[in-house]
Each structure stands twice: as C-alpha cells, then as structure tokens.
C-alpha cells in the first residue's frame, strides 16, 4: 500500500440532465449534476466525497460505477476508460468494482435467501461450482461478522446493521479492488454506524480494498477517509487530505459545511 499507484481517475467528468420542456419556445433547463470533475484515487486508500444533498455526489458515484453514461469526460479504472468498453467487457470488469447502497432495507430482494443474494454476483461474474459457491458465501459472511446459519434466512429476519453487513458481503464476494459506498451508514442508527464503519476499515486492512465513500456526514468521512473532495453544485470546491480539510478548510463552502455540524 506504499506505492502511489492510481486506481481510479476521473478526467473532466460531466453529467447534465435536461429537464422536460415547459414552454414550446424556450430551451429546456439543464441541471449540471456533475460539472467538470477531476480527481485521482490512490490504490488502497479511502476516498471521500462530501457535499450537501443535491450536490451531485450520488450521480458521481453512479458515473464511476458505469451506471450512467456521462455527458463528457472519462472514468479510468486501472487506466481503462470504462465507457469505451462494450457492455460485456464492462460486466466482466465489475468483478473489480462493486457497490454498497444506502438503504439496506431496499437493496436486498425480500424474496431471496441470503445465500442467493450474496452469491448473485458470483453466479454472473464467475463460473463457480456449487460447493465452492456455498463455501465462498459462508467465508464472506463470516468476514463481515455474520453466522454460517444465516444463509438460509430471509432479509427481513435481520436488523438494519446486519443487512448492511450482508450488502457489504455481497459487494465483497468477487474480491473487488474498489468498493463504491453510497451513504453506507446514513440509514442506520448511530450506534450501528460505528460498527459498520469499523467493519469497513477492518476489511480494508485485510483485503486491501480501495473505498470511494460518498457521504453527507462529515464525521463518517473524517473517521474513514484518507483523501477527501468537497462538492457543491456539481463542482469540486476543495480537495486534499482529510486531515487538512477538516482542520484547515480553505474554501468558504467547506467552512460553512463544517460549521453546520451540530456540536454538543
């Protein structure tokens, strides 16, 4: 983890949404969700994206995941531009980057057992034998602190924190190099948040995963991330190491963000 190898790079990335036409003659309004964003992420580090709601954080995450085609710019993962790949090649690339979603109550199909939920990326991205599949699911489940017997249960039998662990296990099972976590703890109780964040850090130590953590919660980002960018209205207003930004913010917006955190 000492080498400063770039694993993800965004070059002048932009994503504009056009609103539906309101008048016949006026041009429809354009929302610049992500506007000319550049950054580099170093392998094995945690990268935080901070900003208020509507600042384009989630759109950025979806662009990095290749779920949205950007209006302009490129995203390079291991120096391959993911938008130049065909759908099939991109699918094979997905082994290397997976995602954890915000809402652990919505992101797991309520009709499926944990075994098939966690094994799903495995079924699609790798050809595994039935026994291997089961043992890999159990291994991954244990690494996020759940029990072997849990594989026969349904999602509703778990608490929010446990469900988020399951979602993390699902992202981990293909042994990805990058995990994009879009607000991974904001739907959880404060007491559970710390557990999940600790888990994320432990997993980084043992597997060497690179995180891209999207959050509006500054405390979370401060706790986990090495490098941080601050976004406002689609643009990066400040970037740097977490320490620097939280102790010595330079931009006005960052200052107001930091001041907005309630202190007791």
């Amino acid at each position: 983890m000492t080498n400063n190898e770039t694993i993800v790079e965004a070059k002048s990335l932009s994503k504009f949404y056009r609103l539906p036409k309101e008048s016949l003659f006026k041009k429809p309004e354009v929302i610049k969700a992500v506007n000319d964003v550049n950054f580099k992420i170093i392998k094995g580090k945690s990268f935080g994206v901070v900003g208020e709601s509507g600042s384009g954080k989630s759109t950025l995450a979806r662009c990095i995941m290749g779920l949205e085609r950007p209006t302009a710019g490129e995203v390079k993962i291991n120096s391959v531009d993911i938008f130049s790949l065909s759908a099939n090649e991109l699918r094979n690339m997905r082994k290397q980057f997976q995602m954890v979603f915000q809402d652990p109550f919505g992101s797991l199909n309520p009709r499926k057992k944990i075994l098939s939920i966690i094994a799903e990326p495995l079924d699609v991205l790798e050809k595994v034998k039935k026994n291997d599949r089961r043992s890999r699911v159990i291994d991954t489940l244990k690494s996020v602190g759940l029990k072997e017997t849990d594989i026969e249960k349904f999602p509703h039998e778990f608490s929010g924190g446990q469900r988020q662990r399951i979602a993390i296990a699902r992202a981990l099972i293909t042994k990805p190099k990058i995990i994009v976590a879009d607000e991974p703890v904001s739907a959880l109780d404060v007491s559970v948040q710390a557990q999940v964040l600790n888990l994320l850090q432990d997993l980084q130590d043992s597997f060497g995963v690179t995180y891209i953590l999207i959050s509006h919660d500054l405390a979370v980002v401060k706790f986990v991330c090495d490098d941080v960018i601050v976004m406002n209205e689609g643009k990066i207003v400040e970037s740097g190491s977490a320490k620097e930004i939280f102790t010595n913010p330079k931009h006005e917006y960052t200052k107001t963000l930091l001041e907005a955190v309630p202190r007791f």
Binding site: M99, F101, L108, E120, P121, V124, R170
Partner: protein, 347 residues
C-alpha cells in the same frame, strides 16, 4: 411451510392458499369446475357412438381407441364398424357382449330413430333432446364444454405469456421502446376484431388453431398494461438497481427480481381473461364465424336455440351451461383476487 404435490410453498404462498380455501364460494367453484373439466376430458368415454368394450369370441376389443372393420365381427363390409347398426349389434351379441358409454351418442351422431321430427324433445334416450339435425344435445354439451374450456385455457395461457413478456420489455427498458410499443398497441387495439374475423372467414375456413391464433393476435394486450406498470415501479427498486450495479444481466434481473412482483397482478387477472376468452369463442360461434360447422360448441347450440324457439330445451340448455361456466370462473377469479390481497384477512 406446507407441502403440496412435492412443491414447497413459502409462507406467503401457503397463506394465500389458506385464504383461497377460506373463500368457500370460490373454492367450491374451483373444485366443481375442475371436476367438470376432468369429466369432460374423458368425454369420449361418456358420450360416444362406439361401445367402450366389446367382448367377441373370447377377445376384448376397444372400439373407442382402435378402428375395427366390420369383418372382425363376422360382418360383410371392410369399412369401420357401425356399432349402432341393429344388424351389427345382433352379430356381436351372438358371440359376446359389449358395454356402451352412459350416452350412446357422439357429438356428431345423428339419431335416425327419433319418435318426433328433429329437434325432438327430451326423452329417455336423448336426455336433453336433440338439435335440429337429430344430434343428441347432452353429448354435444359435453364436447362443447370441453372445447370451450380448452380453447379458453390455451388462449389465456398463450396470451398471458406474450402479454407478460411484452409488458416486461416495455416497463423494464422504458424510454423509446416503451413509447413506440405503446403507440403500436394503441393502433393495434383499435382494429375491430369482429369485422376482421368476418373478412377472414370469407377467405379461410377458421379451424380450432387458426381461430386461436387470430384471437391471440388481439387478446395478448389485456395484460400488458398491468405488467408494464408493475415493471415501471419495480425497476426503480433499490435491489433492482443494486443488481444492475453488480453486473447482472437484464434478462436475469427481469426473471429473478421483477417478475415475481408482477406475478400477483397477472395471476389475479387470469380467471377474468379466461372468462373473456370463453365468451368471445361463444360469441363467434353464435354468429357463425367461429369453429367450423358441425363442431360441438356452446355458441352454435345457442344459435340453434334462437332459431328454434319452439324447442326451448336447446336455448335453456345452452344458456344455463354458459351462465354456469362463466359464473364459476368469475367466482374463482374473485377468490383468487382476495387471496392475493394482503389486506384481506379471512377468519
């Protein structure tokens, strides 16, 4: 968990089954219709112009399943045996015996020994009388019921398969595909089916399968709306998005994650589509654009009842049989709908 026929039911499905059973009217309608359907499948053994078993010279013959020339039974012709012929009956009875079905007429058997001119009223031989060509009404009813229900079931299953697939594609992909498909359906739906059938009937003689195909061309649209709506809703579910982000292929997402959501709406609709299919076949037969002439059908019988008002057994039989089938199907449909309704609780 409950087991039926080796299938393991999940909790929610076993609750639905319980709810369905608790709706007594729907449940008994289902049992009754199922019984009628099973009986009608064996119509050939209930109403036939051939005996079920012939025992002749220490040998067993099965005339319903196999054709035997008359010479087998010491007759003179090498053509198929006409077992209703008194001469043949005598030949067989001399050296053996035969067991007749409950109703010794098939749907196209003409009874030449009527006591009054056709249509003749019900009597001990023709339980529900005969139609205007001297054919037994009860035999025609059994065969007609079978053909109606089979037609309805095949049409319903085919049109729901096509409808679900079309709705799924539209709802899942949305955008331009959805737009084009919806406009196509609007245009297609506005084609008047009846006139089309009248024109087609002038060109081709519709048979069972060609009629099924033509009706299918227009009946698949009934499910598209529901399934499309369900897919439009479900494609934004977090776990569907998650599945996409994990790199799962569209067809797997459709089948594994979204289709189960759409199944409830689909299954709820099925009995009502079945009722609609039976009605449309009956209507076409009534107008004379349906199954080829001579085939047993409820609509054709209804038509005969209309043109022979002096023979009320025709009209009454066909009216009540159609009414009973449709009522049973609708009762079943209501019970299914209630069973799938999570807010409905039966005690």
């Amino acid at each position: 968990m409950k087991n039926i026929f080796l299938f393991k039911l999940s909790n929610i499905n076993s609750r639905r089954l319980d709810n369905f059973k608790k709706n007594k009217r729907g449940f008994y309608s289902f049992i009754f219709l199922l019984l009628l359907f099973i009986i009608s499948i064996f119509a050939n053994f209930i109403a036939n112009e051939r005996p079920i078993i012939v025992f002749f010279e220490n040998k067993i013959y099965l005339p319903i399943l196999v054709d035997y020339p008359e010479t087998v039974f010491d007759g003179e012709f090498e053509t198929n045996t006409d077992y209703r012929d008194p001469f043949v009956k005598e030949l067989i009875q001399k050296k053996g015996w035969m067991i007749w079905p409950l109703i010794p007429f098939s749907h196209d058997t003409i009874n030449y020994e009527l006591k009054s001119p056709a249509p003749s009223p019900p009597d001990r031989i023709n339980w529900l009388g005969t139609d205007d060509q001297g054919r037994d009404v009860f035999a025609r009813l059994i065969y007609g019921f079978r053909i109606s229900l089979l037609f309805g079931l095949i049409l319903t299953s085919l049109s729901s398969i096509i409808g679900v697939a079309a709705g799924a594609v539209q709802g899942y992909f949305g955008g331009v595909i959805d737009l084009i498909f919806q406009r196509f359906i609007e245009v297609w739906e506005s084609i008047p089916l009846l006139y089309l059938l009248i024109i087609l009937a002038a060109i081709i003689t519709p048979g069972f399968w060609s009629l099924l195909f033509i009706l299918l061309l227009f009946s698949w649209m009934s499910l598209v709306g529901v399934v499309r709506a369900e897919f439009l809703r479900a494609r934004n579910f977090e776990y569907v998005r998650a599945a996409k982000a994990l790199g799962i292929k569209n067809n797997i997402i459709i089948f594994r994650h979204i289709l189960p959501n759409a199944m409830v709406a689909t299954i709820t609709f099925l009995p009502f589509i079945l009722a609609g299919s039976i009605t449309s076949l009956t209507a076409l037969d009534f107008l004379g654009f349906g199954l080829p002439p001579g085939s047993p059908s409820l609509g054709e019988m209804l038509q005969q009842g209309k043109s022979n008002l002096q023979a009320p057994w025709l009209g009454i039989t066909s009216f009540f049989s159609i009414a009973i089938i449709l009522t049973l199907v609708v009762f079943i449909g209501e019970a299914v709908r209630d069973a799938f309704d999570p807010r409905k609780i039966f005690n």
